[in-house]
């Protein structure tokens, strides 16, 4: 009897903390999303009106959704293959300095989004930015590409910073998976006449599939939660709101406009959106069937 109860006993502190600091606020935020609030005495029940206004009338919300979806899709589509490619390169037996190289590529992930934004601000900034200086050196005249001021370049600038930070992170996971692949599988494939591409497609890819699914899901969640990077790099929503993300809009609605109910509704729509996208991804990749 005691042994049966023991796990619950040990789990109970965490469950209490989760209940008080996670599930209760989560429930409260759901309740809040059906209200519009202003001041302590003014809390008006509006039913689904926050959601209706968001979906039906709020253009900035949809702009934020579009920016976030484009960023996330581009991030995942570029990051995952690039990480895999890098991992395969650094997994070669005869490569020199591979440990140092692995650390170099992974180290970009260790410094945090705010610092990455500061670095990219110095790289992409107008006039004195290293990128413009380099372009100007090549062109032989001052160049101002407007990375941070042209609407069309705002999201690519954020994406560039995001990729710089996350490719090394994905590489480490792929590297771990690649090192678990049984070398005899490659030998058998070679005996069967498989070329490099065929070996990659039939041996490597199935072996790292679980990591690939994990990185796609984690990348999607990270992409949808994007906040600090554009917030610091663009010092706001960017030119023409082209770097405005869903979480930035949520923050701005709550703390710049003071509409906590509306902002809670944005949060819950984000949860639904993210849940839907992740489920669709898991289904598309067949990960649910495996379970």
């Amino acid at each position: 009897m005691t042994r049966r109860r023991a796990p619950y006993l040990f789990l109970s502190p965490l469950l209490v903390v989760l209940a008080v600091f996670f599930f209760w606020p989560l429930y409260q935020s759901l309740v809040l999303s059906f209200h519009t609030t202003a001041g302590p005495h003014t809390r008006r029940f509006v039913g689904l009106a926050n959601y209706r206004f968001l979906i039906g009338h709020d253009r900035l919300f949809w702009l934020a959704v579009a920016n976030t979806v484009v960023y996330t899709a581009a991030l995942v589509l570029i990051q995952v293959p690039a990480s895999l490619g890098l991992a395969m390169l650094l997994n070669q037996r005869d490569l020199r300095f591979k440990h140092s190289l692995r650390f170099c590529f992974f180290s970009t992930y260790l410094i945090g989004q705010v610092f990455v934004a500061v670095i990219f601000f110095a790289l992409l900034g107008p006039r004195r930015g290293a990128m413009n200086e380099a372009l100007g050196y090549i062109a032989g005249r001052p160049v101002d590409a407007g990375w941070l001021t042209r609407p069309n370049l705002a999201l690519p600038a954020v994406l560039l910073a995001g990729l710089w930070m996350s490719i090394g992170y994905g590489m480490i996971y792929f590297l771990a998976a690649l090192q678990m692949v049984d070398a005899s599988l490659y030998e058998a494939a070679a005996l069967d006449g498989a070329g490099r591409w065929s070996a990659f497609w039939n041996v490597t890819l199935p072996a790292v599939r679980h990591v690939l699914v994990f990185l796609v899901i984690v990348g999607t969640i990270g992409g949808f939660q994007l906040f600090e990077l554009p917030y610091v790099l663009m010092q706001g929503p960017g030119p023409n709101y082209r770097a405005l993300t869903i979480v930035m809009y949520l923050y701005s609605t709550a703390f710049d406009r003071g509409d906590l109910g509306y902002s809670a509704a944005i949060g819950w729509l984000l949860v639904l959106l993210l849940g839907g996208v992740c489920l669709a991804q898991l289904k598309a990749m067949g990960a649910l069937e495996e379970e």
Binding site: G39, P40, H41, G125, T149, D259, Y262
Partner: protein, 473 residues
Amino acid sequence: MPLEKGAGTIPVNNPMPHQGKPIFMLALLACVSGLAVLARPATPRADLTVWVFAEDEAETFRQAPPDGGISLIQRFAKSTGSSVQVDLIAQRALDARLMSLFMSDDPTADTPDLVEIDMASVGKYFRPPTGDVGLLPLNGFLADSKEMENILPSRLAPWSKGGLIFGLPRDVHPVTLTYRKDLFDQAGVDLEAARTWPEFQEKCLQFQRYWSEHGSPGRMALELFTTQSEELLLMLMQQQVNLVDERNRIELADPKVAQTLAFYAQLVAGPRRIAADTIPGTAFGYRDLADGNVCAMLTPDWRAAYLKQYAPELAGKVRMMPLPVFDQTDAPTSTWGGTMIGIPRRARNPGASWKLLEFLCLSPEGLEARRRYSEIIPPLKNRWNDAVYQSGDPFFGGQPIDRLYIELAGQIPTRYVTPISINAQAALSVVLNRAVGYVNEHGQENLQGVCAGWLAEAAAQVRQWVSYGDFDR
């Protein structure tokens, strides 16, 4: 190497060897540290607490004068017997804390007795009906104060709702134009001869042509934001246009807005472009002026102080002039930014809070201390003749810039801030970006008409926001 028999398995007789000790130690540590925290003596709270986000404001209140003596808050404590604590809190943190205080309605919460609020943040505090605004109306206190008649009335508007004044203004922030006199003189352009914005643009084009032919093709005459509407708003206010007035009426569709927007768009884009963004970030923009990448900028008094701080090599090379106008009836200035200090409704002793507020912001001692840490012009008209504001400024080649600011201070347009102002400004920024794109692609043909259409759409959307979130209905 083969493992020994039994290695890596848990002995049957002792299913959890030594697992209890670490858990016990963790629990013990948690209890001991918890008790230590609980037993810690509480820091005694001062009789009055002030929250500020501006460092110079904190220094004004806390620092003793350099020639000896005691600080403002010590002086207040000496004369009233009430101790004062000034907390310097980052602006975003202060905003978040204040908002949760106002929302929580918790009588035990640690409410400050005075709080500094920025103009960009104040709109949201006016969302509730007037009676529920988290700040205390100061009308009664001000009516009894002999300083009320000295406060510039237009400066009370941003801090008011429905005729109630919720904060004492700390500034006026009239806007001038600072330019690189050395570079304009070299180009043979007398910028101060330009009285209107179109004349100003012609002078700037002449300036850019000169420098393009003399080895600086990238040199721009003026700094203006190409994607944000803040400086466009300044031009609109010169013409007495607020995007949203004090009754939440949307002015975006006013013909003057389309006209000014179209003019502004061709200042920052297209073949007649005279303006560019500076590098974002407080210090970088002033470095652009120092490097001659842009050669003029709009300067409220707070920006003039930053200019001296971040571009000291410009000493003697810059001058200041009033803003050009669109029409003779326009103000030759505008107003950019601002802060107030107010009393939270739940302050422990509003009477004592007001006494402190009056002492810090309106007394001669308070104003003198303020001048030590900031060159910002006060909103008290009776102080504008003080000798300190009449002298020449060596940084500006001996030009008495404070006197210029003071001459313009009385002419600043009234600026209203409502909960919906932020939405209207966002909508204007979107239209500005569309207009800049239009100028880049199609030039100026039919620009004003196109802008008018976009502004009408934007106004309709902002009206939807008003009807949706208005608590005063």
